[in-house]
């Protein structure tokens, strides 16, 4: 009944909403949860018609409303400040919409009384907003929004302006009111408790992307995205890599589904305090050293460092020294008597990294391309080598002026792609043992809209498609898959079909082609004809992984990602 299809909005060259799609169920209370500036309020205002959108469509009651003004959308909205009309009484506020619709005064009276009693404000009809408490104002705003029997109720941080003491009380009232009326409701908040208590489903919104949708339990216990994991609760997120089909964090190896993760790619593990236990249930962490115990009322918060996780890094924290181990926390009812404990993890939710982390070997062209990709994907970038760029923003970091540190940094598992100038082939070969490398060509296109992905068969194809799909989704680019073959066999057909359906599931647009000829010439011909902005190739077999990639791109002005061999072979 209410559906959003690929809504995008850019403001001052900043992406505010990026291809947001969502279907609401009849009568559900849907909460948009995100940090301030994540785009959640903009999305709500776009649904209300108070903000324009650049592309996409909004359907309310199966009617396209994207180009309608707020007056014609059949929505009710409660603003964070409540936005009551200060010169009007409670009754006048509540019946304002009816008056605008020229409903007769006798019907207005009946309906007004009804709404005011529904929110429990009978007797206060003639008060002005400034004579009401915060909770009462919120109820007036709610009754006013419901006066025209809207198809959807939009709530913009409706409890944000209330004192913390009465917030939980009003929360319960709000939920009861919504249940009673059975109206489809979208609520925006940054408060996770509020989201969990009220929502039938929660949508996690981060940097304008709708990352994940699920029930509060699903998102708390098994989030897929880093954003959901960190927004819905405490704990730490560890950075690791997929090695031989297993998610590896220090000595810890966990099974992952091959269909979702790329070999050699970065992977994240969420460790919630609740999942850490002393009973040897689940995955054992071995002996952990107690660092700190803090009484937090009723229980102790225990912080331990975990030797078995050495080599893995905690996301969002500084790099560890050689003799340091990653720290995790858990709750305990009593103070520990010893200096170390045996710990296990009852659950191990694996997350997929949501933004692209780049490591960039500095040169004029890599810095400019790296910055442009980071801006588009709202990702992160670390610079290494010299000259390091000046005036870094929040998404950028200086890692080291020495290129010697590159391999060590890459092995930490924090990065997903390395940007290296095409001239530095030795570095490219070295990093390629660990990570996909984007060989940056001077003068090649820096805005990536079309990606060319030549593919062979086998598992490798699946893995390259997953990788290319992820890059394309983050950049909003299209993929052209080409398969070099003499004819369309049923094998090729299945292959291309499965690639296309994988990409469709990732919400990436793709086209496919089968071309004949020798591999190198066929790909070259395709590059010259279709002028893609980016080429994604596998490593060559044999001693030099760059043999075929260099042969193909020789003399062609194009940026090329070369995938590591293990990613290629699978």
């Amino acid at each position: 009944m209410i559906s959003l299809n690929s809504i995008s909005k850019t403001f001052n060259r900043d992406v505010v909403l990026s291809r947001v799609s969502l279907n609401l169920r009849e009568g559900e209370l849907f909460v948009l949860l995100g940090k301030s500036g994540s785009g959640k309020s903009t999305l709500l205002r776009a649904i209300a018609g108070l903000e324009t959108i650049d592309s996409g469509s909004i359907l309310i009651d199966n009617k396209e409303v994207s180009n309608l003004p707020p007056q014609k959308r059949n929505i009710g909205m409660v603003f964070q400040s409540y936005a009551l009309f200060p010169n009007q009484t409670v009754f006048q506020n509540v019946t304002y919409g009816l008056k605008i619709r020229k409903i007769s005064s006798s019907i207005r009276h009946i309906k007004g009384k009804e709404l005011i009693s529904a929110v429990g404000l009978t007797g206060l009809e003639d008060r002005f907003p400034h004579q009401l408490s915060g909770g009462q104002r919120q109820r007036v705003a709610l009754a006013r929004a419901m006066a025209l029997d809207p198809k959807v109720l939009l709530l913009d941080e409706p409890l944000g302006a209330l004192d913390p003491q009465i917030r939980s009380e009003v929360r319960a009232e709000l939920k009861a009111f919504q249940r009673k009326l059975g109206i489809t409701t979208i609520m925006v908040t940054h408060d996770r408790e509020e989201a969990c208590e009220l929502a039938d489903r929660i949508g996690i919104i981060d940097s304008g992307h709708l990352m994940e949708v699920g029930t509060p339990e699903e998102l708390y216990n098994s989030p897929k995205s880093v954003a959901a994991a960190s927004l819905l609760g405490g704990g730490v997120i560890l950075a690791g890599r997929v090695k031989e089909g297993l998610a590896t964090f220090g000595e810890l190896s966990l099974p992952v589904s091959k269909d979702d993760y790329v070999e050699g790619g970065p992977i994240r593990l969420l460790i919630r305090p609740e999942s850490v236990n002393l009973e040897k249930r689940g995955v054992t962490l071995g002996r952990c050293i107690i660092e700190e115990e803090t009484y937090i009322g009723g229980k102790y918060k225990v912080t331990v460092s975990v030797p078995s996780l050495q080599g893995s890094r905690v996301v969002g924290q500084r790099a560890l020294k050689v003799d340091e181990f990653p720290s995790i926390s858990y709750f305990s009812l009593s103070k520990s008597q010893e200096s170390s404990v045996e710990l296990s993890l009852a659950s191990t939710p694996i997350l997929s990294p949501t933004t692209l982390s780049l490591i960039c070997v500095c040169s004029e062209e890599t810095i400019s391309l790296g910055r442009s990709i980071t801006l588009q994907t709202k990702g992160k970038i670390g610079f290494i080598g010299s000259p390091l760029p000046q005036d870094l923003n929040a998404r950028e970091a200086r890692i080291s002026p020495s290129k010697e540190d590159l391999l060590e940094e890459v092995q930490h598992g924090m990065f997903e792609l390395a940007l290296i100038p095409r001239s530095e082939l030795a570095l490219v070969r070295e990093v390629l043992s660990e990570l996909p490398v984007l060989m940056v060509e001077k003068g090649a296109s820096s805005s990536i809209k079309n990606i060319l992905l030549p593919t062979a068969g086998g598992t490798s194809a699946k893995q390259s498609v997953l990788f290319a799909g992820r890059i394309a989704r983050l950049l909003g680019a299209k993929i052209t898959i080409i398969h070099i073959s003499r004819e369309m066999s049923s094998y090729v057909e299945t292959l291309l079909e499965s690639a296309t359906s994988t990409l469709r599931a990732m919400k990436v647009q793709s086209t496919q082609k089968v071309i004949s000829g020798s591999t190198i010439q066929a790909i070259q011909k395709e590059i010259i004809e279709s002028k893609p902005d980016l080429l994604i190739l596998g490593s060559s077999e044999g001693t030099d992984p760059l043999k075929i990639p260099l042969a193909i791109t020789n003399d062609l002005l194009i940026n090329t990602i070369v995938l590591p061999r293990d990613l290629e072979i699978g």
Binding site: L50, G76, A83, F85, Y96
Partner: protein, 258 residues
């Protein structure tokens, strides 16, 4: 000892010679010949015309600028566009330009040999219309200055709330925005009225100072003084002062009520 008691004498030393004594002198001279002489000086046909003309011009100026000023303030406050700030400076320019210069510029545009006035058989200068033009020009910034800050500070989300409840832009303006800025509208109108009553510099240039046609009260006072009729000048001056005082009191009590 209370520090305020120390400052009061100094304050009085400044205010009394600067403000109070001139006003007292005016009342003294006006009443020197007694109430009857004062009344006779005030009720000469030329004096009555000047007072009436001033009131009529001030009323029309206030009404027209109420619309112009509110409209301009609304556009500049609600819409963010290129040149917004430049336009704001432009509409406030009359405050900075000496009023005599305003008068001159109007003459050079609309006068018999002016850029536009020269093109037609009719020109508004040295006629009541010319006086009105000058007053509109000079008082526009006071209206905008009173309304725009109120609009800037008013909660825009209540206008959005009105829109989500089905109201058109005009309904929202009439039912929500306008009641919210009524204070600004009233003080802007009173300020405009007061400034129009006292306007001299621009008026003297564009009116030609014609008795029974374009002579406003301030021009009448000046003309009578020059002609040596101090009692006549003083009578009208006193009435003007009292009128302005009442307007001022209204403004103060209004803004204190808010």
């Amino acid at each position: 000892m209370n520090k305020a008691l120390l400052h009061i004498p100094i304050l009085l030393l400044i205010i009394v010679p600067l403000l109070v004594m001139p006003l007292f002198a005016m009342v003294y001279f006006a009443l020197e010949g007694g109430i009857t002489a004062f009344w006779n000086a005030l009720t000469t046909p030329a004096a009555l015309f000047a007072l009436q003309f001033s009131l009529v011009i001030a009323t029309i100026t206030s009404i027209i600028n109420l619309f112009f000023g509110t409209y301009i303030a609304y556009v500049l406050s609600r819409y963010n566009f290129k040149g917004n700030r430049f336009l704001l400076v432009l509409v406030n320019l009359p405050v900075a330009i000496p009023t005599v210069v305003v008068g001159t510029s109007l003459l050079l545009l609309w006068g018999p040999i002016g850029l536009l006035g020269g093109l037609f058989d009719y020109h508004p200068m040295f006629k009541p219309a010319g006086v009105l033009l000058a007053h509109l020009f000079v008082t526009l910034p006071y209206m905008i200055g009173a309304v725009k800050p109120v609009l800037d500070e008013s909660d825009k989300t209540i206008e959005e709330a009105s829109a989500t409840l089905g109201a058109s832009s005009w309904q929202t303006f009439r039912l929500i925005t306008l009641p919210g800025i009524s204070g600004g509208l009233i003080s802007g109108t009173l300020l405009t009225f007061a400034h129009s009553l006292g306007e001299f510099g621009a008026t003297v240039m564009v009116s030609g100072n014609l008795r029974f046609l374009t002579q406003t009260s301030p021009l009448y006072i000046f003309a009578q003084f020059e002609a040596g009729n101090i009692a006549g000048a003083n009578a009208v001056a006193s009435v003007l002062a009292i009128l302005s005082f009442i307007l001022f009191l209204a403004l103060v009590s209004w803004s204190e009520k808010k």
